[in-house]
């Protein structure tokens, strides 16, 4: 079942081309950009803020507000990742690796422009994919289950070993993240682990205060500390705004890989854009043309991350709109928006309310165009952040971190968590552990743990069953290759040079 373009335009355009819907789309885009770009405020929060407003709107108005906010928020996370080394949303974690070094070299505007263009490319690719193949792909994706989720998460964990200049410190950070992920009620036995009798910890440590603590507050403390000791300052140079065309073109192969990976992972129910960006970055670091320079501030690193996370947005909508299965926290909010309007996702929506489906497609498309326009226009304003003196900038960012930690659950407890992890993030930087492996361990830990245990329960304890399904077999094999190929290559090189040193023996056979 494919949906015709003409049908989408015919049914959807009249609904979308309504001044109120268009105005809301602009409001949604700006909110998404703002909230996404603010360290501490995530795109989930943008949606949570906006959804009560949609309560009395028409479905088109509601999605006109929400979908552009989702698309723009996913891009917006890159802005603070590049400027401040603090990812604005979880999906932008990988963008810090090359974005921030570029900003330090005075290429902040260039880096933002590049993420904007390639976020747009990823988003549009996934919008086309969503509109064309949603129902077919959803039926394939629903067959994926526990073992595939496990394999995806293990692949993500393997990427951690590539992230740090020091393998040991990278793995140490990842292991700390996995340890933190064990907090909360055990899904299989109901036993409380490290909760100290607090209801707030029953569901585990909240992602938002931990992430903005380690990344945000930790970075601020680190900067203040470095500044007081060395008198260091953030770079004040801004550089050119728009990326040069040849640089944009150079990244096309990277973008194609990122789109494939981002969409593939995004469509698996319950994964979402963050893991897609991680996997894409890891793949680029393994097979990309500039793999050796990744992490030092190369455009390919930004493109691998930003294209993939936006490619994941449209893909994550697929299982939500066709089967009512949300891919991440944001699509869960979108599902709620459908329910609020008495619309039930599924094939019935595609047959009975094709007007709603068509307007969702068009609005998602529109959202991507809007953030491209506002992102490129706004880039020169965003980079002015770097001109702000640190004694003014850092307290503002710190205040945003506190607001973000509190507002997600209106919880003072989470503010304590923020402070704790801010200090923790500062201390691990002191010993050379970077925050990204830790946060990835924290995100992926529960997915790996519960899907491994669940997979073993449903298959009667069979480990080989994890290799019995094509997708999980492929991903697990890729993981093994990723982990052991450096070792094998080194062994092969050593063998090769050993053979060359004894030419007589090598040449005789």
């Amino acid at each position: 079942m494919m949906i015709g373009l003409s049908e989408i335009l015919e049914l959807g355009l009249p609904l979308v081309l309504d001044p109120s819907v268009l105005l809301l789309a602009v409001v949604g885009t700006l909110t998404g950009l703002f909230v996404g770009a603010m360290p501490g405020l995530s795109s989930v929060m943008a949606m949570a803020i906006l959804i009560p407003l949609t309560y009395r709107m028409s479905p088109q108005q509601a999605f006109g507000l929400l979908l552009p906010a989702y698309a723009a928020g996913t891009f917006g996370g890159a802005i603070s990742a590049i400027l401040l080394n603090i990812p604005g949303t979880g999906a932008a974690i990988m963008t810090t690796y090359d974005g921030y070094p570029m900003a330090q070299r005075g290429q902040a505007g260039y880096a933002i422009g590049l993420s904007c263009v390639y976020s747009f490319v990823g988003g549009i690719a996934s919008a086309v994919f969503l509109a064309a193949f949603a129902p077919i792909v959803a039926h394939w994706a629903i067959r994926l289950g526990t073992r595939e989720y496990f394999a995806v998460a293990v692949f993500g964990l393997a990427v951690i070993s590539y992230l740090s200049s020091s393998l040991i410190k990278g793995l140490l950070g990842g292991a700390l993240g996995l340890l933190l992920a064990t907090v909360g009620m055990d899904v299989f036995t109901g036993v409380s682990r490290f909760t100290f009798g607090r209801a707030e910890l029953a569901g585990g440590l909240e992602f938002v205060p931990v992430m903005i603590g380690v990344f945000g507050l930790g970075e601020i403390l680190h900067t203040v500390d470095a500044g007081t000791r060395e008198g260091a300052q953030l770079p004040q140079k801004i550089g050119r705004m728009l990326p040069e065309l040849k640089h944009v073109l150079r990244c096309i192969p990277t973008a194609i890989r990122a789109i494939v990976v981002g969409m593939f992972i995004g469509i698996i129910p319950a994964s979402g854009p963050t893991i897609g960006a991680v996997a894409s970055y890891g793949l680029e670091k393994r097979i990309g043309k500039r793999r050796d320079q990744m992490g030092t501030g190369v455009p390919e690193g930004i493109v691998a991350s930003e294209t993939a996370n936006n490619a994941g947005t449209g893909a994550a909508i697929v299982p939500m709109i066709t089967l009512g299965i949300p891919g991440d926290a944001v699509t869960a909010v979108l599902l709620g928006a459908l329910m609020l309007h008495n619309l039930r996702p599924g094939p019935a929506l595609f047959t009975q309310r094709m007007d709603v489906v068509a307007s969702i497609f068009i609005l998602f498309f529109l959202g991507n165009i809007l953030f491209l326009v506002f992102g490129l226009l706004g880039a020169k304003f965003f980079v002015r952040v770097l001109k702000t003196p640190q004694r003014i900038l850092l307290p503002i960012v710190a205040a945003l971190c506190f607001i973000g930690a509190y507002a997600a659950r209106r919880s003072v407890f989470d503010v304590h968590v923020l402070v704790l992890f801010g200090v923790f993030g500062f201390l691990i930087r002191k010993i050379g552990i970077t925050p990204a492996p830790l946060i990835l361990g924290f995100i992926l830990g529960p997915i790996v743990e519960s899907n491994l245990r669940r997979g073993l329960i449903t298959t009667g304890g069979s480990v080989s069953a994890f290799f019995a399904r094509p997708v999980s077999a492929l991903l697990l094999t890729l993981t093994l290759v990723l982990l052991f190929s450096p070792l094998l290559i080194r062994l092969a090189q050593r063998l090769h040079s050993a053979l060359q040193r004894q030419p007589g023996k090598g040449a005789s056979d």
Binding site: M47, A48, I51, P52, Y55, A138, H139, I142, R143, L144, G145, T146, M185, D186, V187, F188, T189, G190, V191, S192, T195, G197, R198, A199, E200, A202, G203, P269, A270, P319, T322, L323, G324, I325, P326, A329, A332, V333, L334, L335, G336, A337, M339, L340, N342, R344, P345, G346, P347, A348, R409, R410, S411, S450, R454, I457, T458
Partner: protein, 325 residues
């Protein structure tokens, strides 16, 4: 000496303030005079959130003040209720309570809980959903009784549930206790995940409300073999109840409105009246019918009877498994 006098005057003022603030009864002003907050222990956009927003919307015109939903997610709704337990009992801070809170009270493994029988004032229960069983569409059974027979011949079948300590885990335990079949209960982090596991045939069945499974039913991926309700769910008239099939199992998630313990009767009754009228409004009734939610109402008095029944039910269920506190 002078200092001593000043000090004793100061102390007297302090003490009198204390007596005055305690002794004076709350002035008899009409309730409510300002906005009322309802804490919802789940994120915006979820099933409980949407229901709470609909009921709050209906209460607004009744009370003549804004009724605001405040999402404070955590621990299956417990975080929100705990905050209300510690709030001032003046009727301006309320929370949505669920059956989960009774489970947490009795579940041996849970280390955070409150007692809904003593620590809150019940205003009313305004919804009860039917729990049901969804199976892959080409499963070799179409009804619950066929499923039970199949499970008797194939012990240890994996079924998808929520984590222990949540309602959707103990609903399966109730099925096991009632029928004596041997199932492997596989916990999933949410109903969406366990349902998609059933659709993908990773498990032979998943526990879910018909409203939750509706999209997958429409897609032709799952079918429902029964619901644990007293009557068939009106928008899904083809799904038989367990009771019709000879199994007396009635169980499902419900939502109630509570305030802190010690809420004055006048305030409680005013709120209960508004809640009942909001529940009976055409708009709310249409909403729950269309979404496949179950109708159910208990006011403050008979609601306490319902609370005690739930309390005993979950204690007995857990006690039989050696899991009760």
């Amino acid at each position: 000496m002078k200092k001593l006098i000043v000090l004793s005057i100061a102390l007297a003022v302090l003490l009198s303030a204390n007596v005055w603030s305690r002794g004076e009864p709350e002035p008899e002003v009409a309730f409510p005079t300002r906005e009322i907050e309802i804490y919802v222990g789940f994120a915006a956009g979820g099933g409980t959130d949407v229901l709470a927003r609909r009921i709050a919307e209906g209460m607004e015109p009744e009370l003549g003040v804004p009724v605001i939903i405040d999402n404070r997610p955590g621990a299956g709704g417990l975080v929100a209720v705990q905050q209300v337990v510690n709030a001032r009992p003046n009727g301006y801070t309320l929370a949505i309570i669920l059956g989960n809170q009774f489970l947490q009270k009795h579940f041996k493994q849970a280390d955070a809980w409150m007692d809904p029988l003593t620590e809150v004032t019940l205003i009313g229960v305004f919804n009860r959903d039917a729990w049901g069983i969804a199976v892959p569409v080409d499963a070799p059974y179409d009804t619950f009784s066929e499923f039970v027979d199949y499970a008797r011949n194939n012990p240890g079948l994996p079924v998808g549930s929520g984590p222990p300590g949540t309602l959707y885990y103990w609903t399966w335990q109730a099925v096991v206790a009632h029928t004596g079949i041997d199932l492997t209960i596989v916990p999933y982090e949410g109903t969406a995940l366990s349902l998609s596991a059933a659709a993908g045939e990773e498990v032979v069945a998943a526990g879910a409300g018909p409203g939750e499974a509706a999209s997958l039913m429409d897609a032709g991926l799952v079918k429902m073999i029964g619901v644990a309700a007293e009557e068939r769910v009106s928008v899904f008239p083809d799904i038989p109840t367990f009771r019709e099939q000879g199994f007396d199992i009635v169980i499902g998630p419900w939502r109630g409105l509570v305030g802190p313990a010690g809420l004055p009767d006048t305030v409680r009754d005013r709120l209960a009246n508004a809640l009942e009228n909001a529940y009976n409004s055409q708009r709310f009734q249409d909403f729950i019918r269309e979404q496949g939610h179950g109708p159910f109402f208990r006011g403050p008095e008979d609601g306490m009877g319902f609370f005690r029944e739930e309390d005993t039910f979950f204690f007995d269920l857990m006690d039989a498994q050696g899991q009760a506190r």
